[in-house]
Amino acid sequence: MTLLNVGVAAVLLRAAAAKTVGPSVAASALQELTGGRRRPADIVVRMVALLEVATLVLLIAPATRPVGYGAVAVLGLSFAALGAAGLLRGSDRPCGCFGVDNDKPLGTANVITGLAFAAVALTGLLAGPDAGSAATAATLTSAVSSGWLLVTHRTAAATAYRSFLRRWGSA
């Protein structure tokens, strides 16, 4: 259960960072869902990011974990609903979902991830709050988030590493 929680927390952290810095991407995708009517304000997207961060924090502390599962379920079902709506409308605007650098619009990935979130939340509620200490959850979330960044930016990481080795060798 700890690993599932950590996985969800890492996704939430990255998604929140992307929404906080570039809310216009998600806002634009949401506008498309409503048939091009009023574009959601950036502050609305940033509030969702805040909710994601709050959910992450609730998931980490054992005492607040049940509430965190509730929030994960709400977020997951919302993501799934938005993904389904994107599929139905044939959305083609990039949504910047989950902080992944690609041009994918709202669609299948959101449905799958959203349902996975809901499944984790349900499992967590049934299993109880005993899913590792706060320190373990925080440390593992850091490790998974850092590892994910290294994997998705391996070219930059490799360049930085080679540069470091060259400087080390010439020092």
């Binding site: 990039p94 910047g96 925080a138 850091s142 070219t155």
Partner: protein, 181 residues
């Protein structure tokens, strides 16, 4: 004590993730303004509009033609730049190669040269811009991938972009009319 350290580590990680997001590495770039028709090209906000090129770097000297030319600024540490380089090596500059050059911004010359070789850019006029000295020093450009448009050697437009084809449609360098873009 352990919990304090773990929380500090998580905060540090969150800061790094946020930093990557601020560098535009966690989501496709779009304009902060109302969405335009294309989400792949948006105006560059910070650059020295009207800056004059005193002397073109040797590899880009062919751009000193007095007509409308474009310099694509790529960086060795930007994930999107590698995707742009793949488009270029795939023939995205076909028909406009005479009026488009590339500046590869890098920490060290070896990194830039390796980027050029790895991405198959060796046949295209490419200037390895060590520590971004030329693009940052002369034009105050610190983002990538960017496109700098020069009319008669004067920097007249700047763009952030992710699609070379969309960019060429937007900026129309000299020779575009005969190019299939």
């Amino acid at each position: 004590m352990t919990i304090v350290l773990a929380c500090a580590l998580l905060l540090l990680t969150a800061a790094v993730v946020l930093l990557f997001a601020m560098m535009g590495e966690l989501a496709s770039r779009t304009s902060g303004a109302a969405p335009a028709a294309s989400t792949e090209v948006s105006p560059l906000e910070e650059y020295r509009l009207g800056a004059v090129v005193d002397e073109w770097p040797e590899p880009l000297r062919a751009l000193d033609t007095g007509s409308r030319v474009v310099v694509l600024v790529l960086s060795t540490v930007c994930a999107t730049c590698a995707k742009v380089a793949a488009q270029i090596s795939g023939g995205a500059l076909e028909g406009v190669a005479d009026t488009v050059g590339i500046a590869v911004s890098c920490a060290e010359r070896a990194d830039g040269e390796e980027f050029v070789l790895r991405n198959g850019l060796a046949d295209i006029p490419t200037y390895v811009d060590e520590r971004g000295g030329w693009v940052a020093g002369s034009f105050s450009v610190t983002q990538s991938p960017t496109a700098l448009v020069f009319d008669n050697g004067v920097l007249s437009e700047g763009y952030l972009f992710t699609s070379v084809a969309e960019l060429l449609r937007e900026v129309r360098p000299a020779g575009t009319a005969r190019a299939a873009v």
